[in-house]
Symmetry: C2
Subunit: 477 residues, 2 copies
Amino acid sequence: MTSGLRDAGDVRRWDEECDVAVLGLGAAGAAAALEAGRAGADTLVLERAGGGGGTSAMSGGVLYLGGGTALQRACGFEDSPEAMFAYLMASSGESPDEAKMRLYCEGSVAHYDWLVEQGVPFKPVFYHGCSGEPPTDDGLVWSGSERVHPFCEIAAPAPRGHVPKMEHQAGPLLMQTLCQAVEKSPARIATNHRGVALVQERDGRIAGLVAESFGEERAIRARRGVVLTTGGFINDDEMIAAHQPLVRRCSFRVGAEGDDGSGIRLGMAAGAAAIHMDAASISLPVTQPWGLKRGILIDASGQRFISEDSYYGRLGEWALFHHDGRAWLVVDDAVFEKPEYPREVAAVGETPAELERELRLPEGSLEATLSLYNRHAERGCDPVFHKSGEYVQPLVKPPFGAFDCTTEGSLYAAFTLGGLRTDVDGRVQDVAGEVIPGLFGAGRATSGLAVGSYSSGLSLGDGTFFGRRAGRCAARG
Amino acid sequence: MTSGLRDAGDVRRWDEECDVAVLGLGAAGAAAALEAGRAGADTLVLERAGGGGGTSAMSGGVLYLGGGTALQRACGFEDSPEAMFAYLMASSGESPDEAKMRLYCEGSVAHYDWLVEQGVPFKPVFYHGCSGEPPTDDGLVWSGSERVHPFCEIAAPAPRGHVPKMEHQAGPLLMQTLCQAVEKSPARIATNHRGVALVQERDGRIAGLVAESFGEERAIRARRGVVLTTGGFINDDEMIAAHQPLVRRCSFRVGAEGDDGSGIRLGMAAGAAAIHMDAASISLPVTQPWGLKRGILIDASGQRFISEDSYYGRLGEWALFHHDGRAWLVVDDAVFEKPEYPREVAAVGETPAELERELRLPEGSLEATLSLYNRHAERGCDPVFHKSGEYVQPLVKPPFGAFDCTTEGSLYAAFTLGGLRTDVDGRVQDVAGEVIPGLFGAGRATSGLAVGSYSSGLSLGDGTFFGRRAGRCAARG
């Protein structure tokens, strides 16, 4: 057997038994455990750390939900599952999973209610500020590119970032609440247990797993199924080199220590397919405060490459994957503001030509770019990249300046989006597209809704939504 | 067991036995079989088609070799393994395999001699024309971006496309020769045998495989090893959707029917890792004849995005992966030539502004791009994208025209580069990085030298080179 896989015939005795074993207590694992338990399955949650939370607890806690949730309505916003579906299909990378997307949008209102039932508090106040992760305890926020071309023409925009009621960073509150719900549920939790192998029957069925706890291996029988909710692989250097080498240029890897791809590898050792392994969320929150969207983003050829009012998950992906990871935000004195995140002022010049020279850009390149931009901006429009008129004004007031957005040390935050291939019920599929009996997955150990061009809240959203479905399906055995 | 994998304990009898089974008789398979046989192993080659050749026989037959081969010297070119290594490391995508690359460059001169020993003829004449696949029977050709910025500053350029002596398309001759060599060797060939499963021992070792021939399954024991040389996955829609959805926009998939990823999936079912599955060769031979490099390539924002004298493997990748798959070649009357491949003339205009309107580009965008380009071109330089001076001249003579390079029906040719992870001896590694005993791979079923930004001849080059190594290593058992 491959490492990471044991033959059931070699397991001499089971140290523990359950119906459903959930590996990893982040948001997806909590959701899976709650639903498996509610369905009557004897559920055991194994977590490698000393306590639950994982990367979800380190996050901003935003959940991308919509279609007319109670929170959206309380804040005075209209939305529909159709609009949400149209936006997500258009904005979430090439070839997102349409079946998952449709279920997710149709079930989003009820999923919000379920989160509230678990005790997650949301303050029914819309945040007017400029971040996908508000510094206030407000509950609803823009967390994607809904109002940006071309998406605003494809679907009626609505804010869909649902944020638990906590100032600055709501991930800890979200996970505290979900973990407490699991503790109160019939599910058992075993911390300091790290999965080291799946156990497979001769007929291919996953019969359980082997976990390591304080140096000792324990064989755990899972009569109905194992649910892998172990997170992504941003912290595994070898997998990053093999699947998304460009991400090594990012200065900040978003993920708990456990995001080392271990569960993805366990699944693959059992024959599971992993898909969209090159997909990542690359955040470049360079236009915060939002007034900075009045500047222009340029690459090393001195050219613009994207509408600057795009969400920062889109800005980062374009800069890193399509423009060699180099980007500057160019401003004039009229639109200059201090950026929210520390940014190096790369150069200042009294004229565009001087700024261009200081940045060592090709002669005439920035001048030509600014000249074309200003020509249209005088009429309040941007026909080249379609930035919204509210952020379009000529950049003409000296001095001119440029922030370097992508040097080492810039907040250029990355996490992985690809993983095990699952169906809409979390059943893990093998490389031939067949279900591996007894094996389930959810969250960033799987390929979920977004396969690119990230909107904030999609990972906690699909992790909890499809985690619940995986838990229910596993409980059925 | 997962589909594609059988437990050795379930094999009641072996229908056939050998030391080394090679699955797939393309260039990599032929090389593996020749070396395994020469090393004294009883070698059986299984090919799903009615005869050998595979995708290699449909190719241009170019092998990327260098470092001072007899052919390079006969044509009057100097080269060194160091220069070849520096070029390939810089040009072959993000994070190519350095160990493979170094061995390949150091062993390239001897590998050329080996090909000649097998009977592959090369005419010691350099082809001065403009294709990586010459229409003549000349033996040496430019087949990459060696003379293009930034590579020409990184390494001394040398032509490294080695082409068997055959007009128009040398792949059939290459494969005819190699297949004849296999036939004359001790290796046995079984056509109409398609691999449907690997057979694995309880300890993880690959003991053989199951092949299907005319509807019947045959269990084939391979005492020392199985070598997977089954090709890439360009013809498997599901794998393409999962790993490189953008490639679906290409009009031409380069690959024999057998390039359906079957061998990659067999390996993965046995726990093998697959890496760089998003990497592809995307050819856009739009600047042929080479005089068309005097035009400029623009994307849908009316901006240039690459040096037009880049090799067509690089042009295609940039257009598809980084510029939404949209590109036009803009020419004036002075540089207009009939393209070698049929191209639709998308628009003609008496002025750049008229052409821009006809192409429905953003107002002023193409004008600004041409204006900046011409300003530098008057001095014979291109500081923005560093096109070589020989292709730089102002585009000022009306009428102006644009070829659409990327619409449906354009020759926008794609094949996959990612696959099973192997070490330098072709040993397939599992997802934990450990070798799967008895399992080997080479050619496009594996991730090889190039993981992007393709130079022609790298696949036949690494397929034969590492195919030989895999065959020798498998023969050692």
